[in-house]
Symmetry: C2
Subunit: 229 residues, 2 copies
């Protein structure tokens, strides 16, 4: 199907994104320079414009690819466990999220550490990532029916209801609030760790992360699903 031209074109495009990412991880976001990329690829700068309409566009598609990679990584961690073990699956996905983020701090900063760029290509990836957590939420609920607090703020309940309707999740409003709180904890801890804001309090945040997972499992009444890594 793909003509030979198209194949080699896709290949060099992939190579361009590859060296762009290498520059990102070695020199930070400011080191992603069109001309430097072109040098490493073996081209001159204007040649890159045959593949990407601008540098911003290049990093945008790079962001999209990174979302894809993270999504795939989390999905793999989830599918490595049987579907019935919803609690173990959720814990595994959280661990995979932290592992990926710590292993790829520059990429994490690009995905989660800055306001989304204007021409937002990452929206799809972010939506798919939200989808992973949505199904995770639904599975947790259908499997365990953990206790949910009553008396939610009506404004909050309305927003959660709207999201539940848009995603078709089965869990009740309160459950979604509880699970969202868990995601906030996981993200907060990982972001603090990756950005180095915990370095002088916790040189190694891993035990606190595990403690957070364990506490959250117990909050859901599924403490037995938690096992030390």
């Amino acid at each position: 199907m793909a003509t030979r031209r198209e194949r080699v074109r896709a290949e060099t495009a992939a190579q361009i994104k590859d060296v762009a990412r290498r520059h990102l991880v070695t020199g930070g976001p400011g080191a992603v320079s069109l001309r430097a990329i072109a040098r490493d690829v073996g081209m001159t700068a204007p040649g890159l414009y045959r593949y990407f309409p601008s540098l911003d566009d290049l990093v945008r598609t790079l962001v999209g690819d990174l979302y894809d990679e993270l999504d795939a990584c989390l999905a793999r961690a989830r599918d490595a466990l049987p579907a019935e073990a919803a609690g173990e699956r959720a814990i595994a996905v959280c661990r995979a999220f932290r592992a990926w983020s710590v292993a790829h701090p520059a990429e994490f900063g690009l995905l989660f550490g800055s306001p989304p760029l204007s021409g937002d290509t990452g929206a799809l990836g972010r939506q798919r990532l939200g989808g992973i957590f949505a199904t995770l939420f639904a599975d947790l609920w259908t499997r365990y029916r953990f206790p949910v607090p009553a008396g939610l703020d009506p404004g909050l309940a309305a927003q959660l209801d709207a999201w539940r309707a848009s995603t078709g999740t089965a869990a009740p409003t309160g459950a979604i609030g509880v699970l969202l709180g868990g995601w906030v904890r996981v993200y907060g801890l990982v972001a603090l760790e990756v950005f180095g804001h915990l370095r002088f309090v916790l040189p190694d945040p891993e035990p606190l992360f595990e403690e957070t997972l364990r506490e959250f499992a117990e909050l859901l009444g599924i403490g037995e699903a938690y096992r030390r890594p």
Copy 2:
């Protein structure tokens, strides 16, 4: 004491940082350009080198100033309430942190959304910010003696002990862990909100933030200290 030269010098330095910050908030971190700043100040670019040894250094001192501003803001929120009301004080500081962050997203991104720069001038401000929360933690503990979970991971306990020793906080290890968990939740929620990663789930994160504060107050057994804003 200050000679006339020193006064006018400090004044123009402040003006430079001022327009740098204005460029930051209007055009993002990439818009902080030496020559553009010089234009707005009414100088040529090399003139700025009489005040800052490099552009990186300028943004570093800007980061330091922003930490100072945030510190002062939080301290003001804390001191607006009587010292005995430790719970109300903690809640007020958390609200002030969110309010400042939401009102200054670009500055928040610079402070908390990227790995600390190499020549780290923000270390002092971050340490002072940590100090604010440390005294907050100590006050919460001496005032309420909330229940602390037993059976902490030994590796985690060792790190928390080291931090407690370095700051001279009075609270026991488990209490520090609980309070650190609260900070993780507050930071996580605020970062998610400021970076726009919650927009498609919660258009208005304020109710969830308030719910988080209320839950945490109840976790500490001081639910009566929480009042709707």
